[in-house]
């Protein structure tokens, strides 16, 4: 692929008409022919689940794979706050264009215009679809759908189901899958993990999967393969991802020729429960929606900070004038609702300056007192209580907060053992969503013909930063409404192909290489556990490739990751057998991939000499600490081609064109 030219295949014509005219012109597959075409979908979260259901609905034979015991447990289930859609039900000025604009701006002008516009166009349909499937979104007293607003926008376009929107949307997609499983159109492979992609004649034609219960290595063929395996935030060891979330499917197709784009774009979510000790296995998110009603602050005076850390003072005892509401101070227009990257860095800046409020100095307050009183007064008016006592007002206001965020507050109380209704929450940024991923063209096809990547697994729609409530939107848009069209165009050439045999040399070779690797792990008898290496990698990633990066730090990180990887392949210890249920072996294969991805991640961060969204280089910032973007030299997608070691990866650039949006400094002041 020495002279490979990246072609995004964006259709010609005005932005607003591209998707419509594209759909009018693509090739279709006759319903009778769809029955003879097989599609593999790897991952069954919002993107994979909705894609599997829709492809089956259309008539294709779908084989869906997930590592969990049921598709219903995919990590999309943990998304809390909501899903965006340009319905303008609130009449507050929303439109497809505004959603498109906010998303491109929010992504710091590092996403592809045509994809984002399509996303905005189909967003409304997602809500219609989900409601028809019985997703119980929040409603107001008139029986209509309710909305709230999220960071980075000035309209209320976020649809939600309390703090469990991801759960309800995933169960919606899962129910659509159930219908197709019952009809026999989806063959579901639970507790199966894809360990390699099989390419025959230059096209993706199947996968090698491991049955995680029996350890059996299986060959599965298809006319196309869709990767919907989510993000790679677990490269940090500690993240808000599920324990099993991994990069393996994406990394395997990368090694077989799919370019990996913008690996350094990682979203640090500003409102997570702070880390409490070295034993910790993961970080827990508190939905960004809390920033609608919570005010973020740290004490103004260092004496108060010290008194709080030593337990001599409670946050509720600090007078209003001694609090620094630093987001409201620095960003008056957006205040507590600035986008995630801005809010995260501002928290880090205060904590680095010594104002952190917990023992480790890595926490700020998220305070609901003002909202409780405001809602309480409103409720007192509604109930005709003219002279309500402060106590009564607080009771009424607390109820409003409970109905909006009850489950989040309960979760916080269980983990931290403090009541967030009466004392401010402590929060700190944590790794959350990865905007980078497999490079795809407008059709969502990777650089391997017949291999697609959708949802968080691809790089396409969020640019360098993801706005809240956008991930659910992209996952479902790709799965329900985009891929089913684009994949048909490709498969229309496959109606005469017939079933793909699994006894070809390509399948044989892929299976053998998978087996060899598994055998290595169980026979190595080294001295350190898989987690030992994963934690070491995570620490380097967080310290040197985390919220802020520098040239020196990244250079060190690359060398250190290489060293850990070398040690891993020498000294890792994996107990048990490969022909058995063996969670340690599963972890080993995933961490092996993270150890390679981590290096590419750092290499990409080093290459990008600018700050944008989820990539903040300390050497590229303005005087007041804001990100300094370089549109002249870096308005491109960095798509890496695999050439053996990550250090040998070759950079291909997709230059981004902004024809409908003017590139501006992203200001929320």
């Amino acid at each position: 692929m020495a002279n490979f030219k990246l072609d995004a295949k964006v259709p010609e014509g005005p932005l607003a008409d591209k998707w419509t005219s594209y759909k009018d012109k693509i090739n279709l597959v006759n319903p009778a022919n769809k029955r003879s075409i097989d599609v593999i979908v790897v991952g069954t979260g919002l993107a994979g689940g909705s894609a599997a259901a829709t492809l089956a609905e259309l008539g294709y034979n779908v084989k869906a794979f997930c590592y969990q015991d049921s598709p219903r447990r995919a990590h999309s289930i943990a998304a809390q706050g909501g899903i965006n859609a340009a319905k303008n039900y609130q009449g507050d000025g929303d439109s497809n264009y505004r959603l498109f604009y906010d998303t491109v701006k929010g992504g710091d002008y590092r996403s592809r215009e045509a994809n984002v516009h399509r996303l905005a166009e189909v967003s409304g349909n997602i809500i219609d679809q989900c409601v028809a499937q019985g997703v119980p979104f929040a409603r107001d007293y008139g029986g209509l759908l309710d909305n709230r607003s999220f960071g980075g926008v000035l309209v209320s376009r976020t649809f939600y189901a309390k703090g469990q929107t991801g759960q309800q949307l995933l169960l919606g997609a899962y129910s659509a899958m159930n219908r197709q499983i019952a009809r026999g159109k989806i063959q579901m492979y639970n507790r199966h993990e894809m360990l390699d992609l099989v390419i025959v004649g230059g096209k993706a034609r199947g996968i090698i999967a491991r049955n995680l219960i029996t350890g059996e290595i299986e060959r599965h063929s298809a006319h196309a393969v869709v990767i919907a395996s989510g993000g790679y935030g677990n490269v940090y060891f500690l993240s808000t991802n599920a324990m099993g979330s991994n990069v393996t499917a994406g990394w395997k197709i990368h090694k077989k020729g799919a370019f990996f784009a913008n690996p350094c774009y990682t979203q640090i979510h500003p409102t997570c429960i702070p880390r409490s000790g070295d034993y910790q296995s993961k970080l827990t998110l508190m939905s960004e929606s809390l920033r609608n009603d919570g005010r973020i602050w740290v004490p103004k005076n260092m004496d108060d900070v010290m008194a709080i850390r030593e337990g001599r003072l409670k946050p509720t005892e600090i007078a209003e004038e001694n609090r620094d509401y630093y987001l409201e101070r620095r960003y008056p227009a957006f205040g507590n609702l600035v986008p995630r990257d801005v809010a995260s860095r501002a928290a880090k800046e205060r904590c680095d300056a010594g104002y952190g409020v917990n023992k480790t100095g890595e926490a700020v307050y998220l305070d609901f007192k003002a909202a409780i009183e405001r809602y309480g007064k409103e409720q007192a008016m509604i109930h005709g209580l003219k002279d309500a006592s402060l106590e009564k007002i607080i009771d009424l206001g607390t109820e409003v907060i409970r109905s909006k965020y009850g489950n989040l507050f309960q979760m916080y109380e269980k983990i931290v053992d403090e009541d967030p209704y009466t004392t401010p929450m402590m929060i700190y940024p944590a790794t959350h969503y990865t905007m980078g991923g497999i490079w795809v063209d407008y059709n969502l096809m990777t650089t391997i013909p017949g291999c697609y990547a959708i949802g968080e697994a691809n790089f396409s729609d969020h640019g360098a930063n993801r706005l809240g409530a956008s991930a659910l939107m992209q996952g479902l848009a790709d799965g329900y409404f985009v891929l089913p069209y684009t994949i048909g165009h490709y498969l229309s050439d496959d109606i005469r192909t017939g079933p793909i045999p699994t006894d070809s040399p390509e399948f044989e070779a892929a299976e053998n290489s998978v087996k060899e690797k598994l055998d290595f792990f169980v026979n190595n008898k080294g001295t350190h556990s898989v987690d030992y290496y994963h934690k070491k990698l995570g620490k380097i990633m967080w310290d040197k490739v985390g919220m802020a990066r520098s040239k020196e730090g990244l250079t060190e990180a690359i060398a250190e990751i290489k060293a850990i990887r070398k040690d891993f392949w020498k000294n890792v210890s994996v107990p048990g057998d490969s022909n058995d249920l063996n969670p340690e072996l599963e972890k080993a294969t995933r961490v092996a991939d993270f150890l390679e991805l981590g290096e590419l991640f750092a290499k990409d961060a080093l290459e990008r000499n600018e700050s944008c969204g989820g990539h903040f280089r300390e050497d590229y910032q303005t005087e007041d600490g804001e990100a300094l973007r370089d549109d002249v030299n870096y308005a491109y997608v960095a798509a890496w081609e695999y050439k053996g070691e990550p250090s040998d990866a070759v950079l291909h650039k997709e230059e981004l064109e902004f024809k409908d949006i003017e590139l501006k400094t992203r200001s929320y002041k």
Binding site: D69, I77, Q129, Q167, Q168, K282, I415, P575, P583
Partner: protein, 250 residues
């Protein structure tokens, strides 16, 4: 704190299995129960032993993967809590803790503390969906207003995480709470009403085929449910099922 763990070890579905004692030391009260299990497993790996297999994933109380019978209770002593959200501050230095898999005929053990809960999936294949295609050409979402009270009730039923604690806590290993939550969610919404009768019949039939026991109104399921799914759902399911049996032709 230092603890003695009495853990069910079972190599595979055919193995007889039994309790094995382990000691863990220096456990912090801030750890979650599963982080304490991680400490044990790290200890076992370092001595070349096979770690204890248990199901877990999101560790945020929402995916429903984690299970565990802890001192005889599914998800342990706290009410309204999954095992991943149970913290070691609920235990005392020197405690002996029994850790076993969820027990039910329809949840066979796969290995150690992992059980097979795919019977829940098969019940859902029998009708836990609304038969609408995924074209997106559905009517506008606001074209059918739904009273807030109904939407809230449907939501409450829909918060079930499918963990199976209801089954594991029931002396009859009944899946009625789980199944009724699914049936309720759809029965309470106008979109789900059209197929409500068929759904109730088919899902109940599948539930029985899977080998779950009957409900005798003991209520242990509601007590142990980490998401507070109410017994009212079972009453609603019974009404749905009865009316379906009376009104639809075979």
């Amino acid at each position: 704190m230092d603890l003695t763990l009495k853990i069910w070890r079972q190599k595979n579905a055919e193995d007889k299995g039994g309790i094995v004692d382990y000691k863990v030391t220096e456990i912090s009260d801030h750890m979650s129960f599963l982080e304490m299990m991680d400490v044990l497993n790290e200890q076992l790996i370092n001595t070349g032993e096979e770690p204890v297999a248990f199901d877990h994933d999101c560790r945020e109380g929402i995916c429903g993967s984690c299970s565990l019978h802890i001192n005889g209770e599914p998800h342990g002593p706290d009410s309204g809590t999954t095992t991943c959200q149970l913290h070691m501050r609920r235990f005392n230095d020197g405690d002996e803790i029994y850790i076993e898999p969820f027990r039910a005929k329809a949840f066979p053990v796969i290995k150690d503390l992992i059980v097979d809960r795919t019977s829940f999936d098969r019940i859902q294949h029998a009708g836990a969906y609304i038969s609408v295609n995924t074209s997106g050409n559905t009517q506008d979402a606001n074209s059918i207003p739904i009273p807030k009270a109904d939407a809230d009730m449907a939501f409450d039923a829909a918060t079930c995480i499918g963990c199976g604690a209801c089954v594991a806590s029931c002396k009859n290993a009944s899946a009625m709470l789980f199944v009724s939550a699914k049936i309720s969610q759809f029965a309470l919404l106008p979109q789900g009403k059209v197929e409500a009768a068929e759904r109730a019949k088919n899902m109940v039939t599948q539930m029985d085929l899977e080998g779950f026991g009957n409900c005798t109104n003991t209520g242990a399921c509601e007590v142990e449910c980490p998401k507070g799914i109410s017994l009212e759902n079972i009453a609603r399911m019974n009404r749905e099922y009865l009316s379906a049996s009376l009104t639809t032709a075979e």
